[in-house]
């Protein structure tokens, strides 16, 4: 469903992605792990074009997304078309990025009203149902500032789901949370995975990757070093860099 071919991205002199290719089928749950600065968040942001890669192509359902190659040169498509592709992906950010000037229901209903043209009443009806699914039916009228980090992140998940995306992108969704709040967010994500949602998750939660992922990807220095099913990935990693990283991660936990 999602295909990345030879994605490259630099910030000035620094090359953060050095030709990354990845294929994700419908219903796949992919966990991307790796040290900070390995390019995993950037890769995720290339998928919904929050970052524009310099080279490589992104395909959604077989069709090239966001831009065309005209006579060997990359030409970005009109912004409206980029927006249209972008909304096929729901994104959850490390620091939530809820809209502070809207209440919880407003956060969830905003994009369906503005982008998909739903009536406010319909968007709110669906919003309440989604908030119920993430266990926040009683917080509909609350304001983001009144919520805990875990609650905020669950609202953010509901907000992304409200656009009925084809796939969900999670950018370290639990990294900004107090340890005791991590569980409630992972539980919602597990639930989503069980429902068959296609998910790409950048995370440091090894337990989650082990239990939920169909495939685990280890990235380092802008490249995919190793890609394997979780049982194999964690029990018998092949690459030395993966082994070293997993050993370090284990020591920390």
């Amino acid at each position: 469903m999602i295909e990345l071919n030879g994605i490259e991205k630099s910030y000035g002199e620094l090359k953060v992605l050095k030709g990354v290719s990845l294929s994700v089928a419908k219903g796949d749950v992919i966990c991307i792990i790796g040290p900070s600065g390995s390019g995993k968040s950037t890769l995720l942001r290339c998928i919904n074009y929050l970052e524009e890669p310099e080279a490589g192509e992104i395909r959604l359902d077989g069709k090239i997304a966001y831009r065309d190659i005209v006579r060997g040169r990359i030409v970005a498509r009109p912004r409206a078309e980029i927006d249209a592709t972008r909304r096929e992906f729901g994104m959850v950010f490390q620091d939530f990025n809820l809209f502070p000037h809207m209440n919880v229901l407003g956060n969830v209903a905003e994009a369906p009203v503005r982008v998909r043209g739903l009536t406010r009443a319909e968007a709110e009806r669906r919003g309440v149902a989604l908030l119920d699914r993430v266990g926040l039916a009683n917080k509909v009228d609350s304001w983001p500032e009144e919520l805990s980090g875990g609650q905020k992140q669950r609202v953010a998940i509901a907000r992304a789901l409200a656009m009925e995306p084809k796939a969900m992108l999670f950018d370290e969704p639990t990294s900004a949370l107090d340890p005791e709040l991590v569980g409630e967010v992972l539980e919602v994500m597990r639930f989503l995975a069980a429902e068959g949602m296609t998910m790409i998750v950048v995370t440091h939660e090894m337990g989650f990757a082990r239990q939920v992922a169909d495939r685990v990807i280890f990235m380092d220095q802008g490249q995919i070093v190793e890609e394997a099913p979780p049982e194999q990935f964690f029990a018998a990693p092949r690459m030395p860099r993966t082994k070293a990283f997993l050993r370090m991660a284990q020591q920390e936990s």
């Binding site: 929050l50 990025n97 907000r159």
Partner: protein, 231 residues
């Protein structure tokens, strides 16, 4: 000596009130115009296009770097030389609007830039267009941040309308000058003018201080209070 001559006030108060009305009218017109015009100017200064940025930047720096009185005099006395003849009232409105648009655009720019990048990214990720993101996500947060600063500029605008007297607009100060010249009751007339300005300026300043307090906290309590205080 009886400095305060109330009979002069009794005789001329309609003139003063008319002048005061003119002062208020000019303030309101310029607020409306500059509040609106400052948005495109602020956006031009953040444009990706170098030329657009240059034009916006030049305009803002020119108007911030020269005295308002000179700008006003320039428009009224110099522009007729190139065939643009404006009456005093219009010239004053143009000068004040140009001047305050420059300042307010800087306030807007600061406000817009104070909204975290993550907000725009979240909106983009939801498929919202640039326009929708700006109007629904960035602007409301920016406006809230800058409201107290805007209030302060409105107060100084209210006082700066007195400069229109230089180009014969009969606002409050000029009305006072006319009466004072005719009656020689300088102390009385100018004291009354002072009181009239202060009677608006001071409550406005108090209001801005209250706004500052109200917009400094979170969003929740404010809304709750509006709904009838269940928090």
């Amino acid at each position: 000596m009886d400095l305060l001559n109330l009979s002069v006030v009794a005789e001329y108060y309609p003139v003063l009130l008319r002048g005061f009305g003119m002062t208020i009218l000019m303030t309101l017109i310029v607020i409306t115009l500059s509040l609106t015009l400052a948005i495109p100017v602020a956006l031009s200064r953040m444009s990706g296009n170098f030329l657009v940025r240059l034009v916006g930047g030049t305009y803002v720096e020119l108007l911030r770097g020269t005295p308002l009185v000179l700008q006003l005099v320039y428009i009224y006395f110099v522009l007729p030389g190139v065939g643009i003849r404006l009456d005093g009232f219009v010239a004053a409105l143009v000068a004040l609007t140009l001047h305050y648009t420059a300042y307010l655009s800087e306030v807007y720019r600061a406000g817009i830039q104070s909204v975290p990048k993550g907000q725009t990214q979240a909106a983009s990720a939801l498929g919202m267009s640039r326009g929708q993101t700006f109007i629904r996500i960035v602007l409301p947060q920016a406006v809230r941040t800058v409201t107290p600063a805007l209030g302060n500029y409105f107060i100084s605008l209210f006082k700066d309308t007195a400069l229109a007297s230089v180009v014969t607009v009969q606002e409050l100060l000029f009305s006072g000058q006319i009466i004072a010249a005719r009656t020689y009751q300088y102390f009385t007339i100018y004291t009354v003018c002072m009181i009239m300005y202060f009677s608006v300026g001071y409550p406005a300043a108090l209001f801005v201080r209250w706004l500052e307090k109200r917009t400094s906290g979170g969003y929740a309590r404010r809304r709750r209070r509006q709904k009838g205080g269940q928090a």
